[in-house]
Amino acid sequence: MTKSKPQIKIVNVETGEEIVRDATAEEIAQMELDAALAETKKVEAQAKETAKAAILDRIGLTADELKMILG
């Protein structure tokens, strides 16, 4: 069974004309690149949260206590 290609939708907002088509090979490659970058962002954000939690743990504060101090 062939895997269906991702669908691209393009809407001309002036005329309302709508085109839905298969993504080209170039667009699929771009999507894969985008997804990889986004995944890196997610991992970085998670690492930041973990690092924050480790610091709080080291100084003996909870996140809520820190919020209270900063607020």
Binding site: I8, I10, N12, V13, M31, D34, A35, A38, K41, K42
Partner: protein
């Protein structure tokens, strides 16, 4: 004298004399000419016509650049009007579907664009929404500044992305999220472009909790913005709606 059914044009009776034929045809022709003119009251290129009564039409001359066609205050007739500063016009309403959605041919007649994205629902859990100015996927033209970090204004910050993040992570089953993006001065060709983003998303782990996001989508090109591409951080959209407004 016999007349026609709809417009009561006078026609010769069956008993009329042949010698009066020319006069009868002329009378009928004049009546037809008058009626057709009433149905086509336009006189100039760009004119529009509208009914002022059930069977009566009037012409309305074309408006000036940037004017919009709308009903008058008494809701009795259409008219061209110049939009007041700050007034918003809904340009388009588009459903989020597939792997990406592009809004193209954005009119260049407003001062800024305002987007409202309702109920963004990604197919993949924890995905966030991304936006690409002018659907430009060239490397190193986009970036995202989170709101807390923009205060570090003296810190050099490079462009390293092909799109900007415009929401927090969202659940893939529940979406009561709302995202707004404001893009000022999008038609100028002298500055980089930015979109100020505010997002309220449904937390992917605890769907009764929210994730809030405030950031700036940045594009380091001076080209006017004529299209915007939206894509989830991976995979497809399940649903959602984009409302695009032009603001005067």
């Amino acid at each position: 004298m016999a007349t026609t059914t709809n417009y009561s044009w006078t026609t010769p009776d069956d008993t009329a004399l042949v010698k009066d034929g020319a006069s009868a045809i002329r009378t009928l022709g004049t009546s037809i000419d008058t009626t057709v003119k009433a149905l086509n009251p336009g006189t100039t290129s760009g004119d529009l016509d509208y009914y002022t009564a059930a069977t009566t039409k009037a012409r309305i001359a074309k408006g000036t650049a940037g004017q919009v066609f709308t009903m008058n205050s008494g809701a009795t007739a259409p008219e061209w009007q110049t939009l007041n500063a700050g007034s918003m016009t809904l340009i388009s309403t588009t459903t989020l579907t597939g792997a990406s959605v592009t809004l193209s041919s954005i009119p260049q007649t407003y001062n800024k664009l305002f987007l409202v994205i309702r109920n963004f629902l990604p197919a993949t859990d924890s995905d966030f929404l991304q936006m690409r100015f002018n659907a430009d996927a060239t490397a190193n033209r986009h970036k995202t500044q989170l709101y807390y970090s923009v205060f570090y204004y003296n810190t050099a910050s490079a462009f390293g992305a092909t799109s900007s993040q415009i929401s927090a992570a969202n659940d893939n089953a529940v979406s009561t999220s709302i995202i707004t993006v404001e893009i000022p001065d999008y038609t100028n060709t002298a500055t980089w472009k930015m979109g100020e983003t505010t997002a309220l998303n449904v937390d992917p782990t605890t769907t009764t909790s929210e994730q809030f996001y405030k950031g700036i989508a940045i594009y380091n090109q001076t080209t006017a913005i004529s299209s915007l591409l939206f894509l989830p951080s991976s995979g497809n959209f399940t649903s959602g709606t984009i409302l695009l407004y032009g603001v005067k």
